[in-house]
């Protein structure tokens, strides 16, 4: 028996057969809107948490789209949007210098310092 679908993705039954021929229109000249990352404070007392991203032409449209898409316009939550391109992140290759120090710089850990047993409240 041969089948020509896979079960990949959430709805399954994705055809694996040859492409359905369609006429390709000349690619429309289009400048894509930049990608924004969205952070939402779910309620007072919580941190803003990254919830996803969206495309928007500018900051103002981005924050409103974020409200529509990621909070479905619930009032009382705070939203941050930031252009993905403006985020500076540690590179995985820098992982050791950035994150490993706490592993080898034992002087940051209290147990490094030998304290005589009889010092109170330490």
């Amino acid at each position: 028996m041969s089948t020509d679908v896979t079960a990949e993705g959430g709805h399954g039954a994705i055809p694996t057969g040859p492409e359905v021929p369609t006429t390709t229109s000349p690619s429309v000249a289009r400048r894509d809107w930049p990608l924004y990352e969205v952070f939402v404070r779910g309620k007072r007392g919580l941190n803003h948490v990254h919830v996803g991203s969206l495309h928007a032409p500018d900051d103002e449209m981005a924050v409103h789209a974020a409200r529509d898409v990621y909070t479905r316009r619930n009032e009382g939550v705070s939203i941050w949007v930031v252009r993905a391109a403006d985020i500076t992140a540690s590179s995985p290759d820098e992982k050791d210098p950035m994150f490993a120090p706490s592993g080898d710089k034992v002087y940051r850990h209290p147990t490094f310092y030998e304290i005589p047993e009889d010092v109170p409240h330490m």
Partner: protein
């Protein structure tokens, strides 16, 4: 963008080892981690197909938005179709963390270089189809998707958590519509049975080919992208759906369906894949129409996208507000 490092192994074998160890420990791979190219490609393809399916999946039900038979049903359906747009966005977001670009993925969908689930090429003939899509199609999607919440790729798993929460409401609204119709007029009850007859087998086919005929599954299972086999999930789905059908008072169109006392499972008849293929290929026009609408949405509104970009360029630097 990455600085050279002195003390960290960068040869591929060591990176692969680290990747394998992360997968073996059932921990998540995150966007900036090293990953094998095959893993990245498989994920981009799978997430893109999933996103495309959500977006194309708006159309069969969307066809009833303007004609929904009560204002309450119209509001529910509109919210549901809107959720699907949101799901598509969450998923395109996840694909973009792997270096894909949403506009490019959309182009690939429109040029049929990437696929979407065939289930959405079936037409929605009556309003009962809206209910049955919620109950059976979304139900099958939930069975497929709940394990994806534990996908090894972090952004995909996180998108799926939110999607699954919303999908469970979709399934419930569908089932509730069907219950209302089943307690309605004879014409409404007939509509429901007819829709069940048309959607039952296609929903079983959503789980993909049988395990012994599913060559890609093994690698995806090993990578933790896929968590259960096609047949496992299909059986789970049948076991869940049969009692729901009984409660609803509809007959599932399978004369071989019976309860196996020994295993505690509902056994079902052979799936007629040829029938599936016939219906799907016979629905070429549906496919063409689905794609035509995506193309029109892109091309007819390109001037809007360009205008907003031009405005942003003119007014760059006008701050909106600072973070607080």
């Amino acid at each position: 963008m990455s600085a050279p490092t002195l003390d960290r192994p960068t040869d591929e074998a060591a990176l692969q080892q680290q990747f394998d160890a992360t997968i073996a420990a059932d921990r998540r791979i995150e966007p900036r981690d090293w990953m094998p190219e095959g893993y990245r490609k498989t994920l981009v393809r799978q997430i893109a197909q999933h996103a495309h399916s959500e977006i194309i999946g708006m159309q069969p039900e969307g066809d009833w938005l303007l004609a929904a038979p009560s204002l309450r049903r119209k509001a529910i359906l509109l919210a549901k179709v809107q959720d699907e747009a949101g799901h598509g966005m969450y998923l395109y977001s996840a694909a973009e963390t792997l270096g894909a670009d949403r506009a490019d993925l959309t182009d690939k969908l429109i040029e049929s270089k990437q696929k979407y689930s065939s289930i959405f090429n079936y037409p929605t003939l009556t309003y009962a189809d809206v209910g049955v899509i919620g109950w059976l199609v979304d139900g099958a999607a939930i069975c497929n998707q709940v394990p994806l919440c534990r996908s090894s790729y972090g952004p995909y798993a996180r998108a799926m958590i939110r999607i699954c929460k919303e999908e469970s409401f979709h399934q419930r609204q569908g089932y509730e519509l069907l219950m209302t119709m089943m307690s309605g007029t004879p014409a409404q009850r007939a509509m429901v049975q007819d829709a069940v007859d048309r959607w039952w087998w296609p929903s079983l086919m959503m789980f993909g080919p049988p395990d012994d005929d599913s060559p890609n599954s093994a690698q995806s299972m090993a990578w933790g992208i896929k968590r259960h086999s096609n047949d496992e999930l299909r059986q789970r789905y049948v076991d869940m759906s049969v009692p729901q059908a009984q409660f609803l008072g509809v007959t599932l169109p399978d004369p071989d369906l019976h309860f196996d006392e020994e295993t505690g499972h509902w056994r079902f008849g052979a799936i007629d894949w040829d029938e599936f293929k016939r219906v799907v290929s016979g629905n070429g026009p549906a496919n063409a129409e689905r794609i035509r609408r995506r193309r029109a949405a892109r091309d007819d509104n390109a001037w809007v996208t360009e205008a907003a970009t031009a405005y942003a360029a003119k007014h760059a630097g006008a701050a909106v507000g600072s973070a607080a």
